[in-house]
């Protein structure tokens, strides 16, 4: 493949200061377009290059995506190493700082989310590497005085006839070469790493305990802060016992921030800060959610369904002229959910004469730089955001509330301050997966298949929350999964309603699909049940035969040896197929009742078609992890609001699955030539939906509200 090269405008190359390295840094044309967000690029002298190859043949590669467990940095390294001709295992991955050069091509801002890392960078990442390879080839040809097509680069070695030399021997000369006008990307048959199950490059540091998470940042003279936020969202502090807090040895200061909505205690160490915070005992009043509880919130969503919503076009529908035999009404509810990342929210900030430095486990470098600039009253280009490893993200760290807090606290000190949230603060001040209520009205014909299929859904919006859009803005994060599935639903209609009750919300692994897959697939389960049809056959009756939906569904049914939803006494099976984030995933979940009449999940089959993959093993792990997160949430998880505040506070009342609950999970990848799809999130929605089907088959009662257990 011969392609136009990356914009030569803004292409910088050079010899690394004093090191004789080849350094390449440039903006990609699609990224260089006017950015969605302000340019928040740092002017920090720290290298903001894509890659640096030293004369010693060390290759430093800046991963543009945050690493939160989803394996994106290793997957991108596969793309990069293959096109450069580097030895994958020898790549040194550098965490990104804030720079518009690393803007996610899918969003035009520097943010990791939407399962976009591999699909958005699939081509640009390889172009960067191929450009460097071409310059090294030019240099090697010139130095050895041979034709360029006689030279190859593989596993870090420049090869000509029977001789081979390390890449580093040519970097000084390569740095003087013109940037090529066009480059050639490798053919698929020549891939050494792409599509192969390469080990993760961060496994060793994470197994030795040396990987640096945000929590682990240590700087000279650093202080540690912890925070108490108003339990009722938006409330402000009335009174507190500042003297008692300051009497705790090691406590330096009490700082009221966010216009009184939060109070931070700053000390020499976390335990001192936490002890101080307990002694401080701040009392808050007022707040946006004052008086609300879960039932009132559900009613608020129900009321919205009766008002004026936004009509959304359903992609696949048709008119059928069959007489209506039966009317069906369904209502489904999905609760607020916490992300509960293992690493509680934290950020270290240092406000000094030359600007602001931030060390943060963030998914959103653009947002982090913007709020830091705002909090410290500096220009965004005076903010440097150092990204650390993220102890889980799942969407939570796309919000930058904790970054703004850390910087605001740090403005009161000359030294760096690390803000650490307690688990209780993390659980009660998450930005939650929105509560959603859906009402479906379906008319079926004598054959049990739909004639009309009317869907209404009310929820808050993660997108509107992140982008600070008006309270009545309606967007796909509310209804995705209802308008864009593969089923041809006769007479389908969809109306979406926004509810914005000021409980903070954001993206939770698979976003809208984490509710809508359950809503839609459960409707099909109930319709199949009432029609006396097998849930698989019912789905196949609504799916075009030649589709990626039908293909994964058929494959998973075959893999699971599907013989119906009720394979035996005290057993149930559920099946679901969902497209999300560009990938098609079908799953079968097997459940049974254990001796204590508790639901036990025994086995999960998963077939995924996510197009071409950078690293199929990482895809498999993400499917497993996504399935486990989905099953746990659907079975046990709920965030309740009582008197305007969150009831749950820690893992004793926000249960997660642990080892003893994990079913055997079988994952099969479809060998696909399609464009790469996402894989961090698409495993989750069908797991929730198939579990609902399995419980319905097991108990005879189809669940209509998550969570199903407890």
């Amino acid at each position: 493949m011969n392609i136009e090269n990356i914009s030569r405008r803004g292409f910088l190359k050079g010899i690394g200061a004093g090191s004789g390295s080849l350094v390449l840094s440039f903006s990609l044309p699609l990224v260089a377009k006017r950015s969605l967000a302000a340019d928040t690029s740092t002017t920090h002298p720290e290298i903001t290059a894509w890659l640096e190859i030293t004369p010693q043949s060390q290759i430093m590669f800046t991963a543009p995506a945050s690493e939160m467990g989803q394996g994106s940095q290793s997957a991108l390294a596969s793309l990069f190493a293959d096109e450069l001709g580097a030895d994958y295992q020898q790549l040194i991955i550098k965490q990104p700082v804030n720079n518009s050069r690393y803007n996610n091509p899918a969003f035009n801002m520097q943010i990791t989310g939407g399962s976009t890392a591999v699909r958005a960078w699939w081509k640009p990442m390889r172009e960067v590497a191929a450009t460097a390879r071409h310059m090294l080839l030019l240099a090697a040809a010139k130095k050895q005085n041979v034709a360029i097509d006689k030279i190859s680069i593989d596993q870090g070695l420049v090869k000509h006839n029977n001789t081979q030399q390390p890449m580093g021997d040519f970097v000084a000369l390569a740095a003087t070469m013109d940037v090529p006008k066009s480059i050639t990307l490798k053919d698929k048959k020549d891939y050494r790493y792409i599509g192969k199950p390469m080990p993760r490059l961060d496994a060793k540091a994470k197994s030795l305990g040396t990987a640096e998470f945000g929590m682990d940042v240590v700087l000279p003279d650093m202080l540690v802060a912890t925070i108490i936020q108003s339990p009722i969202f938006g409330g402000t502090v009335d009174s507190m016992d500042e003297a008692a807090a300051k009497a705790v040895p090691g406590v330096k200061s009490v700082v009221t921030i966010e216009e009184g909505r939060s109070v931070a205690v700053v000390a020499n160490s976390y335990w001192q800060a936490l002890t101080g915070a307990k002694a401080l005992n701040p009392r808050f009043s007022g707040g946006d959610t004052n008086g609300l509880d879960t039932n009132a919130l559900i009613d608020l969503h129900r009321q919205a369904l009766g008002e004026n919503g936004k009509v959304i076009k359903v992609e696949h529908t048709k008119k059928v002229n069959k007489p209506v035999a039966k009317q069906h009404q369904f209502e489904f509810i999905a609760p607020y959910l916490a992300h509960a990342t293992m690493e509680p929210m934290n950020t270290t900030a240092w406000v000094h004469d030359n600007g602001v430095e931030v060390w943060s486990p963030t998914q959103n470098q653009t947002g982090a730089a913007m709020v830091a600039a705002n909090a410290a009253l500096v220009q965004p280009d005076n903010v440097t955001v150092h990204t650390t490893f993220l102890g889980g993200g799942f969407g939570r760290r796309g919000s930058v509330d904790y970054v703004a807090q850390a910087v605001e606290i740090a403005t009161h000190f000359d030294v760096p301050v690390k803000l650490i949230w307690s688990r209780e603060q993390d659980m009660q001040h998450d930005h939650y997966r929105p509560l959603a209520v859906a009402q479906f009205s379906v008319a079926t014909a004598e054959d049990g298949l739909p004639v009309t299929f009317d869907m209404k859904i009310a929820a808050d919006s993660a997108i509107a929350s992140l982008m600070q859009l008006p309270d009545d803005a309606v967007d796909p994060s509310i209804y995705e999964g209802l308008h864009d599935q593969g089923y041809t639903l006769p007479g389908a209609s969809l109306t979406a309603y926004r509810v914005a009750p000021k409980v903070p919300v954001s993206f939770w692994r698979s976003v809208g699909h984490s509710s809508t897959a359950f809503f839609l697939e459960s409707t099909l389960n109930q319709l199949a049940h009432q029609a006396g049809m097998d849930p698989l056959a019912y789905r196949q009756a609504l799916l075009p035969e030649q589709s990626r939906f039908a293909a994964v569904l058929e494959k998973v049914a075959k893999r699971a040896n599907w013989q119906g939803a009720k394979p035996g006494a005290h057993q149930g099976r559920g099946i679901a197929v969902v497209k999300s984030f560009g990938s098609y995933v079908a799953e079968v979940v097997d459940v049974s009742l254990d001796n204590n009449k508790q639901i036990r999940i025994n086995k999960v089959y998963c077939v995924v078609d996510c197009g071409m993959t950078a690293n199929p093993e990482i895809v498999t792990r993400q499917m497993q992890g996504g399935i486990i997160m989905g099953l746990g949430a659907a079975l046990w998880s709920r965030i309740d609001i009582k008197d305007g505040a969150v009831s749950q506070s820690n893992f004793h009342n926000y249960r997660l699955l642990s080892m003893a609950h994990i079913p055997e999970i079988v994952v099969e990848l479809v060998d696909s030539e399609e464009a790469p799809g996402g894989y961090g999130e698409p495993g989750t929605p069908p797991a929730m939906a198939a579990l609902a089907g399995a419980i319905g088959a097991l108990t005879g009662t189809h669940p209509v509200q998550m969570p199903f257990g407890m």
């Binding site: 994470k206 040396t210 990987a211 040895p249 976390y270 399935i627 080892m659």
Partner: protein, 194 residues
Amino acid sequence: LTNSPAFIIGNLHKFAYYPIIIPITTKQNTKEGLMLQHYTLNVNGTTHSVEVAPDTPLLWVLRDSLHLNGTKFGCGIAMCGACTVLIDGKAMRSCVMPISQLGDKKVTTIEGIGTADTPHPVQQAWIDLSVPQCGYCQSGQILAAVDLLNHTPTPSDTDINQKMNNLCRCGSYPEIRRAIHHAASTIKKENTTS
């Protein structure tokens, strides 16, 4: 009240799905409880002196005083296990172990079981199978597995279910299980050859 750490820790036995026993009696929030005191502790074979309040959990002594940051803070109430260390060889939750109760017991952290050049067989199994996703819980998982294998050299899946109750939000459980079996066979081979 039911959300206070003291209540939760006092009632942990009621949360049957997390079979943990934790010692906890401190003088928290009394004047004596707050005063800084000198303690010496043995971590990874080295003796350290620290000056902290008696109720300071071992976790925060390790992290904030000794900068041994491989041990992680997850929940503060002994539920998640991210803070797991070995105390006299036994896997314990360091977030609820007050320094005043440690005495002369020997502490082993993730930094103390292996190095980059010579990882512990359990760490090596974790590396070989690329177990970690976000990785935040894995120090604790690894130390829990070390304790398990010390007492049960060839654990069954049921043994693993019973002993491995550390939480992993990424859902790396299937690989943790595989890696424990993998490490068990490596250790067995090493013991036969040596």
